[in-house]
């Protein structure tokens, strides 16, 4: 038993899942712009209106999260009663999307906040709890909505403020994954928990530059702790660094001796095409969630990808912190997914 414990904790930042922990099913709900993007075929539900049939954008975001989770339960052929725990988070104050949705679903909740890193924060923790036996089945989920995020972090869209090209477009969507022991679906093998990094970037319209060092830090810890290299994976993605942060991350890792060129992509670049007017690319919890739980899981299940490392990046600012002139601390969490059915 003692040896197994040691194997679970590889190092301070990296966990190895010793049981047959799998991502047994997943589901994604998105808004109209994502539905027009290149990954539309991998999304379970596409709303053709930003309100998703609701009165407010906040209600719309809850609808997306609820759609993702209920679709997930249908796809897995189970009910909420079969699930011990939801681990979820979003970008709104006090995690209201998550909390209100969990009340409807009546499944015990662990609400988590890691800004846009929430997708992998929740997945890593769900895998750990399932691996340790505290839950038989757990759902990891998160959501973001373009208009609620703009209202929360920048300016309400009605205000019509200009944005520079380094700004990003918050993905409207929600993704959910079902974590359990055995069955089918890719195995969750490793998780690397990030440290908060702050390189002094203060511009909330340039999150890519702010988050890149956090992604690099987590990648380095992951490679060093596991003895793996970029070549160990078919695909490595970051969550939402987009066209500003992506090349910075690649360059910084190359300086550290890790050549990512052949395997590296960014969910914020994958979820839209450049002609969709999204500035530098996608961002938000849903950026990594819809790409991972949509496209990547499909490719893993079909055997087109064998080993994938998803590193979700989060900018831990609040409107108060940046208005008071604080720089933007950032974090990144990585989870390794392997194999197919």
């Amino acid at each position: 038993m003692a040896s197994q414990k040691q194997a679970s904790r590889i190092n301070r930042q990296t966990w190895h899942f010793t049981e047959d922990v799998r991502l047994q099913a997943s589901a994604v709900a998105v808004g109209p712009k994502e539905g027009e993007g290149p990954l539309a075929a991998y999304f379970d539900k596409i709303h053709d209106d930003m309100y998703a049939g609701q009165q407010t954008w906040e209600d719309a975001e809850r609808q997306l999260l609820e759609d993702a989770i209920t679709t997930l339960l249908q796809k897995a052929g189970i009910t909420g009663q079969d699930v011990d725990l939801i681990l979820a988070g979003d970008l709104l104050n006090q995690n209201i999307t998550t909390n209100f949705t969990a009340e409807k679903l009546a499944i015990p909740l662990l609400g988590m906040y890691g800004a846009c890193s929430t997708s992998m924060l929740t997945l890593a923790n769900a895998a750990a709890l399932v691996n340790a036996g505290y839950a038989n089945k757990a759902i990891a989920a998160c959501s973001s909505h373009n208009a609620t995020a703009e209202r929360q972090y920048r300016y309400p869209t009605e205000y019509g403020g200009q944005k520079p090209p380094s700004a990003q477009w918050t993905v409207t969507g929600a993704g959910a994954g079902l974590v359990g022991i055995g069955g089918k679906g890719p195995r969750i093998t490793y998780a690397t928990i990030g440290k908060v990094m702050d390189m002094g970037i203060k511009d909330p319209f340039d999150m890519g530059s702010a988050m890149a060092p956090a992604a690099v830090s987590t990648f380095l810890a992951h490679f060093q702790d596991t003895g793996r290299t970029p070549d160990s994976y078919d695909l490595i993605v970051t969550g939402d660094l987009a066209s500003v942060g992506y090349p910075i991350t690649k360059e910084l890792l190359l300086q550290e001796g890790y050549d990512m060129d052949q395997v590296y992509n960014d969910c914020g670049l994958m979820v839209y095409t450049p002609d969709q007017d999204v500035f530098a690319g996608g961002s938000g919890c849903a950026s990594s969630a819809v790409v991972t739980y949509g496209y990547i899981l499909d490719q893993l299940n079909r055997g087109l990808l064998k080993k994938v490392l998803v590193c979700a990046t989060g900018a831990l600012l609040s409107p108060v912190s940046y208005q008071q002139g604080n720089s933007i601390p950032c974090i990144a969490h990585a989870v390794a997914l392997e194999g197919g059915i």
Binding site: M50, W57, N146, Y155, P156, T157, G161, P164
Partner: protein, 116 residues
């Protein structure tokens, strides 16, 4: 000719605003306040009225003229009622503009719904 001057001068004020946004890295709210205060200062220096004579709508339409109107209202009342007039007069000239903004904002919100 006065149309051309108004067009160019108004545009130049907007260029200053855009430079404050892009180069100065100011927030939209800071850009707006900076331009309003610039209008107040220019009026204090006695420049803004001459500027209006020269550029017409090019000087009255941009937000700098809001500062000019604030200053005019405050000074006008101050001359009649002393220091308290600064407080009571500051919105004297601008109140029509502020009321219009509130009224039109209200009516627009009744009819339209933001699309995101």
């Amino acid at each position: 000719m006065e149309y051309v001057i108004a067009f160019i001068v108004g545009g130049l004020i907007c260029v200053i605003g855009q430079l404050l946004l892009d180069v100065g890295k100011l927030t939209p709210a800071h850009v707006m306040s900076t331009l309003v205060v610039a209008g107040v200062v220019l009026d204090f220096l006695g420049v803004y009225d001459k500027f209006i004579d020269f550029a017409g709508a090019g000087a009255t339409v941009p937000i700098t003229s809001f500062g000019h109107s604030l200053y005019h209202g405050a000074i006008g009342e101050a001359e009649q009622h002393g220091l308290i007039g600064v407080a009571t007069g500051i919105f004297e000239v601008t109140s029509a503009g502020i009321s219009a903004a509130i009224a039109f904002g209200f009516f627009a919100s009744l009819i339209f719904k933001p699309k995101g």
